[in-house]
C-alpha cells in the first residue's frame, strides 16, 4: 500500500461535510424561503447536481485508476438511467387522466 492511503483522508471529510451542508441547504431553501416553487425546484436541482459531482470526485475517485473506458460507459449509463427515471416519471404522472392537477 502506498503512503498516500494511510494519510488523513481530507478528501473524504471535505466531501462528507459538503454533502451534508448541501442537503441541509436544500431543506432550508425549500422550507424557509419565499421563492416561487419553480425557482426552488431549480435551486435544489442545481445543488443535487453539484452534490453528485462532489461524490464522483471525492468518494468515487473518478480521476484515479486506469479503466478510462469502463468509467465513461458507467457514467453514460448512469446519466441515461437518471434521465429515464426523472423525465419518464414526470411524463407518466402528468399526462392523461393520471394528472391530478
Amino acid at each position: 500500500m502506498s503512503a498516500k492511503n494511510h494519510g488523513f483522508p481530507w478528501n473524504l471529510l471535505v466531501g462528507f461535510i459538503l454533502s451534508i451542508a448541501l442537503t441541509l441547504l436544500a431543506v432550508f431553501v425549500a422550507f424557509y424561503t419565499d421563492f416561487s416553487s419553480h425557482v426552488i425546484l431549480w435551486v435544489i436541482g442545481v445543488m443535487a447536481l453539484f452534490q453528485a459531482i462532489i461524490q464522483l470526485f471525492m468518494f468515487m475517485h473518478v480521476t484515479e485508476g486506469k479503466e478510462g473506458i469502463i468509467n465513461v460507459v458507467n457514467m453514460v449509463n448512469s446519466i441515461i438511467l437518471a434521465l429515464i427515471i426523472v423525465f419518464g416519471s414526470i411524463w407518466v404522472l402528468t399526462s392523461g387522466h393520471a394528472s391530478l392537477h
Binding site: N77, S89, S95, G96, A98
Partner: protein
C-alpha cells in the same frame, strides 16, 4: 402497549405457529448446546467470509423461506378450493397473499439465486473469493436480518396486508393503521441494502478478478448473466430504497409523499415501485437463464449455440428492463401516447428473449442429450416458460390489458414466468452444482420423483387460473359464490398445489437421503462439464484454485481436458493470500435488525440507541487493519494430492 397487542392473538393457526416457533427455537438451542457446536458455528459459519459458505447459507435460507412461502400458498389454495369456505377470514387471507408474494420474490428467489451466484461465479472466473469478502458476509447477514424481521410480523404485531406491491393509499397509515406495513417498509429496506452491496460486489469481482486470459467474450454465460444482473441491481435497487424511505416517512413521521391529503400523489408510489419492480423481475430471471444455458450445454455435450447473441440478448433485456415499468399500471388511466409507447417497449422484450429460446433449442439440436435431473428441469423450462412469455405479450397490449388487469389470468401468467424461470432454474442449478458444494451428487432417482411431481403439480395448479381469470375472477378474492362456476377449476388447482408440495417434500427427502447415503466418490468433474469451476476439487477447497488457471478459449476446461492439460505442476505452487474471518458483519446486521424492529413499533429512543451501535460498528470496522493470511505451500500440496493423486 399491552402484551395482548404485541403478540398476535385470537387465531388458532397463528397460536399454533407461535408455539411451534417457540419449541423449535428452544429445541435448536438445546441441540446445538448438547452437541457442543456453538464455537464451531461461530468460527466456521457465522464469521466466515468464504464465498462458498456464504452461498450455502443463502441457499439454506432460500429453502426455508420457500417452505414458509409455500405454506402460505397452500393455505390460499385450501381457502379457495371450494366456494364460500371459511378456513381463513378476509383479513387473514390478505395477510397471507401479501407475505406469500414478498417472501417468494425477495426472500426465496433472491437468496437462492444470489447463493448460487456466490458459490459458482468466483470459481467460474478462477478467483479465490469475491472482490470484497467481508462486504459479502455483511450482505448475507443483513439480508437474513431483513428476512427474519419480516417473518416475525406474523406472530408479533401482525403481518402486512396491502399486497406485495403495497399500493397507496391502502398502504398508508390512514387505511392500515397497524404495524404490519411498517414491517414491510423496514424489512425490505434492510434486506435491500444487502442486495445492493451484493450487486456492487459482483460487478467489481467480474471486472477485476478474472483469471489471466479470461477476456469478456470467453466468460462463461452464467458469469455474464450474473454481471448484467448485478448492473441492473445497482441501477434499480436505489429506487426501491428511496420509495421505501418515503413510505417509512409517510407512515412513521406523517409526511405526505404518497397521501393525497397534503398534495402527495399515491400514483408516485406505483411509479417508483415498478421502476424498481420491473427490473427486479429481470434480476431474478437473468441469472436463471445463465444457469439453464450452462446445464443445457453440458448435457447436450455441445458448446452453447450463438454464445455472442446470447450475451447481446441479455444486455438487450437489461436495457429494455428500465423502459417498460408502466405496463404494470396501464389502467391508472394514462394518455394514449404513454400506454402505446410502453406497449411497444414491452413487446420488444420478446425479441431478445425469443433469441435465447432459439439458442437453447439449437444447442439441443443434434446434441447427445443426457436426461439427468438438472437437464430435465431445463427441458421442462422451455415450454412452460414460453406459455408464460406468450401470455405476457397478451398482457403487454394496453387495450387488451384493460380486460386482463388484476384478474387470475395475470396471476397465472406471472407464476408461469417465475416458477419455470426461477424455481426450475434453481432446482436445475442445485442438482448440477451440488457436487461442487458438498462433494456428492443428489440422488437422481429421487430427483426424478421431485421433477415429475413438481412439474405436473405446477401445471395443474396454475393452468386453471388462466381460465377462471378469463371468466372474470379477480386476483386476491378470498372467496366466491357457487354460482360463478369456478369451484371445479379451483378445486382442481388446489389438488395440483398438493402435488407440487409433494414434489418439494421429495427434494427435502433427497437432500436428507443424499447426505446420509450418497457416494462420496464423484471426482472433481462428475458431469463432464465445460467451465472452470469443475477444474478444482469437489467440494471446492477454501482457496478455490491452488494455482490460478490461464485461460485460452471459451469453455477452456473442456479443451484442456481433451488435450490432457488439467494437471498441476508442483513447481507452480506459491503461498495463497486469503481474507480472515470477521465478526463485524453479523454484529452490524443484528444492529440493523434491532433498529428495524424498534422503528416498526415506533419506539424511537430504543431505535436511536441501536442506531448508535451501527455507527460504532462501522467506525470500529475502519480500524480493522487485518490483511488476511497466507496458506503455506506444504498445506496446498497436501490438499491437492488428496484428490489429484500425484502432482507433476
Amino acid at each position: 402497549m399491552s402484551l395482548d397487542e404485541f403478540f398476535v392473538t385470537g387465531d388458532p393457526l397463528i397460536f399454533a405457529s407461535q408455539i411451534a416457533i417457540g419449541l423449535t427455537m428452544v429445541g435448536l438451542i438445546a441441540l446445538i448446546t448438547y452437541l457442543k457446536r456453538w464455537k464451531w458455528l461461530w468460527s466456521e459459519w457465522f464469521t466466515t467470509v468464504d464465498h462458498k459458505k456464504i452461498g450455502i447459507m443463502y441457499i439454506l435460507s432460500g429453502v426455508l423461506m420457500f417452505f414458509r412461502g409455500g405454506v402460505d400458498g397452500l393455505l390460499m389454495k385450501a381457502q379457495t378450493s371450494r366456494p364460500e369456505l371459511g378456513l381463513l377470514d378476509a383479513q387473514h387471507y390478505d395477510e397471507i397473499f401479501t407475505t406469500h408474494g414478498v417472501i417468494m420474490i425477495l426472500f426465496m428467489a433472491m437468496p437462492m439465486l444470489i447463493g448460487i451466484m456466490n458459490v459458482v461465479v468466483p470459481l467460474q472466473i478462477g478467483a479465490r473469493d469475491v472482490a470484497f469478502p467481508k462486504l459479502n458476509a455483511f450482505s448475507f447477514w443483513i439480508f437474513f436480518a431483513g428476512a427474519m424481521l419480516f417473518n416475525l410480523s406474523f406472530v408479533i404485531g401482525g403481518s402486512p396486508d396491502a399486497g406485495w406491491t403495497s399500493y397507496f393509499p391502502l398502504a398508508g397509515k390512514e387505511f392500515t393503521p397497524g404495524v404490519g406495513n411498517n414491517y414491510y417498509a423496514l424489512s425490505l429496506q434492510i434486506a435491500g441494502i444487502g442486495t445492493l452491496a451484493t450487486g456492487i460486489n459482483f460487478v467489481v469481482t467480474i471486472i477485476k478478478m478474472r483469471a489471466p486470459g479470461l477476456s469478456w467474450m470467453k466468460l462463461p454465460i452464467f458469469t455474464w448473466s450474473t454481471f448484467i444482473t448485478s448492473i441492473i441491481i445497482v441501477a434499480a435497487f436505489p429506487i426501491l430504497t428511496i420509495a421505501l424511505l418515503y413510505m417509512t416517512l409517510d407512515r412513521l413521521f406523517g409526511t405526505h409523499f404518497f397521501t393525497v391529503a397534503a398534495g402527495g400523489d399515491p400514483m408516485l408510489w406505483l411509479n417508483l415501485f415498478w421502476l424498481w419492480g420491473h427490473p427486479e423481475v429481470y434480476i431474478v430471471v437473468l441469472p436463471a437463464f445463465g444457469m439453464f444455458s450452462e446445464v443445457i450445454a453440458t448435457f447436450a455435450r455441445k458448446n452453447l449455440y450463438g454464445y455472442k447473441s446470447m450475451v447481446y440478448a441479455v444486455a438487450g433485456i437489461a436495457f429494455l428492463s428500465m423502459l417498460v415499468w408502466v405496463h404494470h399500471f396501464y389502467t391508472m388511466g394514462n394518455s394514449a401516447a404513454v400506454n402505446s409507447i410502453f406497449s411497444l417497449t414491452t413487446m420488444m422484450i420478446a425479441i431478445p428473449t425469443g433469441v435465447k429460446i432459439f439458442n437453447w433449442l439449437f444447442t439441443l439440436r443434434k446434441g447427445r442429450i443426457e436426461f439427468s435431473t438438472a437437464m430435465l428441469w431445463s427441458l421442462a423450462f422451455i415450454p412452460c416458460f414460453t406459455i408464460g412469455g406468450v401470455t405476457g405479450v397478451m398482457l403487454a397490449m394496453a387495450a387488451a390489458d384493460y380486460q386482463y388487469h388484476n384478474t387470475m389470468f395475470l396471476v397465472a401468467h406471472f407464476h408461469y414466468v417465475l416458477i419455470p424461470g426461477v424455481v426450475f432454474a434453481v432446482f436445475a442449478a442445485l442438482y448440477y452444482w451440488w457436487p461442487k458444494m458438498f462433494g456428492f451428487k443428489l440422488n437422481e432417482k429421487i430427483g426424478k420423483w421431485h421433477f415429475w411431481l413438481f412439474v405436473i403439480g405446477f401445471n395443474m395448479t396454475f393452468m386453471p387460473m388462466f381460465f377462471v381469470g378469463l371468466d372474470g375472477m379477480s386476483r386476491r378474492m378470498y372467496t366466491y359464490a357457487e354460482s360463478t362456476g369456478w369451484g371445479a377449476w379451483l378445486g382442481f388447482s388446489a389438488v395440483g398445489s398438493l402435488v407440487m408440495a409433494a414434489g418439494f417434500a421429495a427434494l427435502c427427502y433427497n437432500i436428507y437421503w443424499s447426505f446420509r447415503y450418497a457416494s462420496r466418490d464423484v471426482g472433481n468433474d462428475p458431469w463432464n462439464a465445460r467451465t472452470l469451476e469443475w477444474a478444482t476439487a469437489s467440494p471446492a477447497p477454501h482457496y478455490n484454485f491452488a494455482v490460478v488457471p490461464e485461460v485460452e478459449t471459451l469453455d477452456d476446461f473442456w479443451y484442456k481436458k481433451k488435450k490432457g492439460k488439467t494437471g498441476l505442476k508442483k513447481a507452480d505452487l506459491k503461498p495463497v493470500h486469503m481474507p480472515s474471518n470477521s465478526w463485524t458483519p453479523i454484529v452490524l446486521a443484528a444492529a440493523f435488525g434491532l433498529v428495524g424492529f424498534f422503528l416498526v413499533f415506533e419506539w424511537f429512543p430504543l431505535a436511536i440507541i441501536s442506531a448508535i451501535g451501527i455507527v460504532v460498528g462501522l467506525v470500529a470496522n475502519t480500524f480493522d487493519y487485518d490483511d488476511g493470511y497466507h496458506i503455506p505451500v506444504e498445506e496446498l500440496e497436501e490438499e491437492e494430492r488428496e484428490w489429484r493423486g500425484d502432482l507433476q
